[in-house]
Amino acid sequence: MLKIENLHSNIGDKAILKGINLDVKPGEVHAIMGPNGAGKSTLASVVAGKEEYEITEGRILLDKENIEDLSAEERAHKGIFLSFQYPVEIPGVSVTNFMKTAINETRKAKGLEDMPANEMLKMIKEKAELLEIDRKFLSRSLNEGFSGGEKKRNEIFQMAMLEPKLAILDETDSGLDIDALRIVSNGVNKLKSKDNAVIVITHYQRLLDYIVPDFVHVLMDGKIVKSGDASLALKLEEKGYDWIKEEMKA
C-alpha cells in the first residue's frame, strides 16, 4: 500500500530524513519508535504532504502511484490521514461543521454529491459513540480549550469519520491518561481492517499493549536502523536506545 524508497528530506538546508525505506501492506500495523529529534514527526509530515519539507531524493508510493507532487489535500483525498501530535485550534468552527466540510470536500474531489444531512448526522452519532464523545463536545469550536486527551480523541474521531486507507498516528498517546488511552486504542482497533493500514509513531511501549504492531522500526538520525516484531518495542522499553547505538558502532 505505502512504499517509501530511499527518502531524503530537508527543511531549509538541514537534512532530517537520510534514506528511509518502508513497506506497509494492507492490514498491517507498523510502529515507529526512536529518540527525540530522530525525524519521526518529519516522516509523518512528509508523507502527509507538508510543503515546508523538501524531498531531495527517493520516492513515496501509495498503491504504486507516486504521490510526492500531490498537495496535502490531494493526498488526503486518496486516503492518507495524519493524527497530529499537536492538533491546531480553530476557534469559530465547530467540530461538526469542520467534519462536514472535510467529508464533503473529499466527496467533491471524488466526483460525489454532498453526503445527505441525515446520513451525516447518523455517522457522526455512531462514530462519537465509538470514541465515547459527548454530543455537546461536537458543537464546540475545533480543539479550542480542549484538554490534551480531548484533542487526541477528537483526532481519532475524525479518522473514524474519514475512514482513511492509511492512518499515521503521531504520538497520539502523549498527554493521554489510562482511560483515554484505552478509548483511543479501542477506536483505532475497531477501525482496523484487512484493507487499511496504520503507522503508529510513539515513544512508549504502553500504547503498543493496546494497538499491537506487526512490525516495529527504530528511527535514529533520519534512518531506520533496526526493524523487528512487537518484542523489539519491549526491549526498547527495558533497555533504551543506547544498545542500538552500540550495535551500530560494532
Binding site: 489535500e73 488526503a76 469542520f98
Partner: protein, 437 residues
C-alpha cells in the same frame, strides 16, 4: 471651482432656506468658519498621514440633490435586516423616504433630525445635546454647517426598546456625483436600552461621498449597541465621525463591519464622563482591490473605575490598504482604569498594506492598560491541518479568516444580524463551504 469653494458658496444658498433666528443658525455659522479656515484634512496632519482624500475631493459633487427619488422596497430589501421587526429611518439621496421608513413617537422618538431641529417640543433636548460632544474640526465642522437631516432617536428613562432601529442611506445615482452629510443625534436616557444598525448603500456606480456625523449620549445605567455595516460599492466613500458620551454605569458598544467602499474612514470617539462604565469598540475589516479602510479611535478615560475594550481584526487582500490608529487617553483622575486594545491583521498579498499605531497616554498611576497589534499571514500549521483533512487551500483559507474574525462577531447581540454578517463574510471570501458560515 474646487470642492471647498463650491461648499462655501453653497452654504449661503443653504442658509437662505433656514430660519436665521434659530440657535442652530449660530452653530452652523460658527462651523462653516472653522471649515473655511481648516479646509479638508491633508496627509500633512498626523491623524491623516495614511489616508488621502485627494481622489475624493477632486470630484464635482452635487451638494444638494435636486429631487426626491423613489425606490421600491423589493429592490432594496436585501440591504435591510428584513427577517425581524425593526424601526426604520430611511433616506434616499439625503432626503427622508416616508414609504420605506417606519418611525414612531409612541413612548420613544424614532424620527427625523429635520423635525427635531424645527419643532418646539424637541427644543429642550436639542439644546441640551445637539453639537455638544462632536469636536469641531474640519470635516465634522463641515457636517455641522450643513446639519439638517438625519436620524433623531430619543429613548426616555427606563425604556427598553425591543425592536432594533435601522438607519439606512441610499443613493440612487440620479446625480452624476453626490455629496451627503447626514447628522444623527441619539439620546439614551437613564436605564434605557436600544440597539441601532446603520448602513450606507449606493445603488449605482456614480461617485458618492458621505460625510456623516453621529452624536450619541448614553446616560446613567443605560445601554446602547450600535452596529455599522460598511459594504458599499467601489465608487462610494464614507467619512464616519461618531462621538459617544457616557455617564455612570452605562454600557456602549460600537461594532463596525467594513467590507466594501472605495475609501472608508471611521473616527470613533468615546468620552467617559462617569464612573463604572464600559465602552466597547469592535471591528472586522475584510477588503481587497484598491479599497482603503481607516479606523481612528479615541477613548478618553476621564473618571475612575471605568473600562474600555477595543478589538479590531483586519484582513487585507490584493492592493488594499488599512489604517488603525487607536488612542487611549487616561486622565490623572481616572484611577483603576482598565483599558484593553487589540488590533490583529492578516495580509494575504504582498501588495496589501496596514499601518497600525496604538497610542497610549496615561497620566494615572493605578491602571491596567494593555495593547497589542499583530500583522501576519495565515497560520501555515492550521492551513496544513485543514488541508490534511481534505479541505482545499482556498476553502481552508476562508475558514481560517472566518475563524480569525469570529470573536468580534460573537459579541453581536442580534442573531439575524450576526447571520447576515457571516453571510457577507462568506461572500467576501468567495467560498461555498460545507456549512453556512
Amino acid at each position: 471651482m474646487d470642492l471647498k469653494d463650491k461648499i462655501l458658496t453653497s452654504f449661503l444658498a443653504f442658509e437662505d432656506h433656514v430660519d436665521v433666528h434659530s440657535s442652530i443658525h449660530d452653530i452652523r455659522s460658527e462651523a462653516i468658519k472653522i471649515f473655511e479656515t481648516q479646509g479638508f484634512p491633508s496627509k500633512k496632519e498626523e491623524d491623516w498621514k495614511y489616508t488621502s482624500l485627494k481622489s475624493i475631493t477632486k470630484q464635482d459633487y452635487s451638494v444638494f440633490p435636486k429631487q426626491e427619488n423613489a425606490i421600491e422596497y423589493s429592490d432594496v430589501k436585501k440591504y435591510f435586516i428584513h427577517d425581524i421587526d425593526t424601526y426604520k429611518i430611511v433616506f434616499i439621496d439625503g432626503k427622508y423616504s416616508s414609504h420605506l421608513s417606519q418611525t414612531t413617537h409612541e413612548g420613544i422618538d424614532v424620527c427625523l433630525m429635520s423635525s427635531a431641529l424645527e419643532k418646539e417640543k424637541y427644543k429642550a433636548t436639542v439644546n441640551q445635546y445637539f453639537n455638544k460632544v462632536a469636536k469641531q474640526t474640519s470635516l465634522t465642522a463641515l457636517n455641522t454647517a450643513f446639519s439638517k437631516e438625519g436620524a433623531y432617536i430619543h429613548i426616555p428613562k427606563h425604556k427598553v426598546v425591543e425592536k432594533p432601529i435601522q438607519i439606512v442611506h441610499f443613493s440612487t445615482g440620479n446625480e452624476s456625483a453626490l455629496m451627503l452629510q447626514p447628522r444623527n443625534l441619539i439620546v439614551v436616557e437613564e436605564n434605557a436600552q436600544v440597539q441601532i444598525i446603520e448602513r450606507h448603500q449606493s445603488l449605482t456606480s456614480n461617485p458618492v461621498f458621505t460625510n456623516s456625523v453621529t452624536e450619541i449620549f448614553v446616560n446613567k445605567s443605560a445601554q446602547l449597541d450600535y452596529y455599522k455595516i460598511q459594504n458599499d460599492n467601489q465608487e462610494a466613500s464614507l467619512i464616519d465621525s461618531t462621538f459617544v458620551e457616557q455617564k455612570d454605569k452605562s454600557f456602549a458598544s460600537v461594532h463596525t463591519f467594513s467590507f466594501g467602499g472605495k475609501l472608508t474612514r471611521n473616527n470613533l470617539n468615546f468620552y467617559q464622563n462617569g464612573e463604572y462604565l464600559d465602552s466597547t469598540m469592535k471591528g472586522i475589516t475584510i477588503i481587497g482591490d484598491k479599497q482603503h479602510v481607516d479606523h481612528n479611535t479615541l477613548v478618553h478615560h476621564i473618571e475612575p473605575n471605568c473600562e474600555s475594550h477595543q478589538d479590531y481584526k483586519g484582513i487585507f487582500n490584493d492592493n488594499s490598504t488599512g489604517v488603525f490608529n487607536g488612542k487611549v487617553l487616561v486622565e490623572k483622575e481616572a484611577q483603576k482604569t482598565n483599558a484593553f486594545q487589540a488590533n490583529n491583521n492578516i495580509l494575504t498579498s504582498d501588495k496589501a498594506t496596514i499601518n497600525t499605531k496604538p497610542q497610549l497616554e496615561i497620566f494615572a498611576d493605578d491602571v491596567k492598560c494593555s495593547h497589542g497589534c499583530t500583522i501576519g499571514q495565515l497560520d501555515e500549521s492550521a492551513l496544513f491541518y485543514m488541508k490534511q483533512r481534505g479541505i482545499p487551500e482556498k476553502e481552508a483559507k476562508a475558514l481560517l479568516m472566518y475563524a480569525f474574525s469570529n470573536n468580534v462577531l460573537s459579541s453581536v447581540k442580534i442573531p439575524e444580524l450576526k447571520q447576515r454578517i457571516t453571510k457577507l463574510i462568506a461572500n467576501k471570501l468567495a467560498v461555498k463551504i460545507g456549512f453556512d458560515l
